[in-house]
Subunit: 216 residues, 2 copies
Amino acid sequence: MKKQHISDAVVRRLPRYYRYLDELHSRGVVRISSSVLGKRMGVTASQIRQDLSCFGEFGQQGYGYNIMELRAEIGHILGVDEPRRLIIIGAGHLGHALLQNFDFAQGGFRLDTAFDVSEALIGTEINGVEIHSMDELEDYCARNHPAVAVLTVPKAAAQDTAARLVALGVRGLWNFTNVELAVDESVFVENVHFADSLLTLSYRISKNANPEKRWP
Amino acid sequence: MKKQHISDAVVRRLPRYYRYLDELHSRGVVRISSSVLGKRMGVTASQIRQDLSCFGEFGQQGYGYNIMELRAEIGHILGVDEPRRLIIIGAGHLGHALLQNFDFAQGGFRLDTAFDVSEALIGTEINGVEIHSMDELEDYCARNHPAVAVLTVPKAAAQDTAARLVALGVRGLWNFTNVELAVDESVFVENVHFADSLLTLSYRISKNANPEKRWP
DNA sequence: TAGATTGTTAATCGATTAACAATC
DNA sequence: TAGATTGTTAATCGATTAACAATC
């Protein structure tokens, strides 16, 4: 039975299901039951079935799930088969790393242009992606209507750049700036807060300090 | 009343409190009440008080919280005042970006050495951090006992490298490889799964597709 | 058919919010 | 003192797990 509202907890688990199914698929496994998948992923079979039931009925009694099918269904739910444009704002070290390492196409995103203010970078190409001047942003957006912008600019420029992108019709911001962006609620912001992530690790290590192993 | 078990939900909110308090502190604000802080952060006052009460009593009736004190208390809870060593494994684009941009000292981590297999990088220095050969990892760990290792190696090397680090006594792994690491449960793994993060954004955009704004 | 496994409903568990006495 | 705000207890809400009839 399809649910109308999907909780954030469920949404955040979907990419992980997708990843496991993708791996099983590429290893040639054809079918899997919720209990086997659950054991492998370290979650309960109930949770998997409950999560999937939010979106439809993808399994078969007595059989389980066809991996290829389920993978495609989750991909569809996540929107990977619905290609959209993405741009990178800021081709510094982090933007550069994403341009070099990250497979945007796998997530269903088309990336052909990044933007930066550095004269040294403008006009160059990284991994097949052209670096344009920030002055061309308005023009590019008017022509290509990118759905998502990746924010890898310095902290100080984050809020202004975000506002500019929102005004240009961007629907989502993938925010690496460690700044809390104030934007219209119709625009989705996905934060990647490195500092927060490392601090939780710091916390867990501190709390479970093993006296024998406590070195600086 | 101090709690013995702290839920993950609470732990993940602490860095955000810390960040806000840090900013208020640097702007010279002296005190704040849970309701004002809550309004600013977009959470309930109840939640803030409930969260803090897991660790002690840091406020004062009729007054609220002293920002400098509370900031220091949360910093202490997170372990930022307890310096520990951290190493970076893999000085490729992403490792490089972290070396250049990320302030490890602010999280209480001392970073002096990164490791890589590339002959071109070994012996060089990035932002004051020396790049050593992976061959020197055992020796370095025996001498310096790093608490945390940042994993910015290629996917294929992830699991083996993790196992090697765990054997060398590392207590936590900050994992950027998008691989699920199988390690002893006494070692903490904090995953930064870029792909998962972007897919949740993809999902939210797909579901709330605004027909007027639906461009590729 | 018999065994396996689903989707779903019910039960449990935990997290968030509300309320309020205590008190600065 | 009176007003404000805490820490904590109680109430609510939501998410996870368990159970099971349906059925492949």
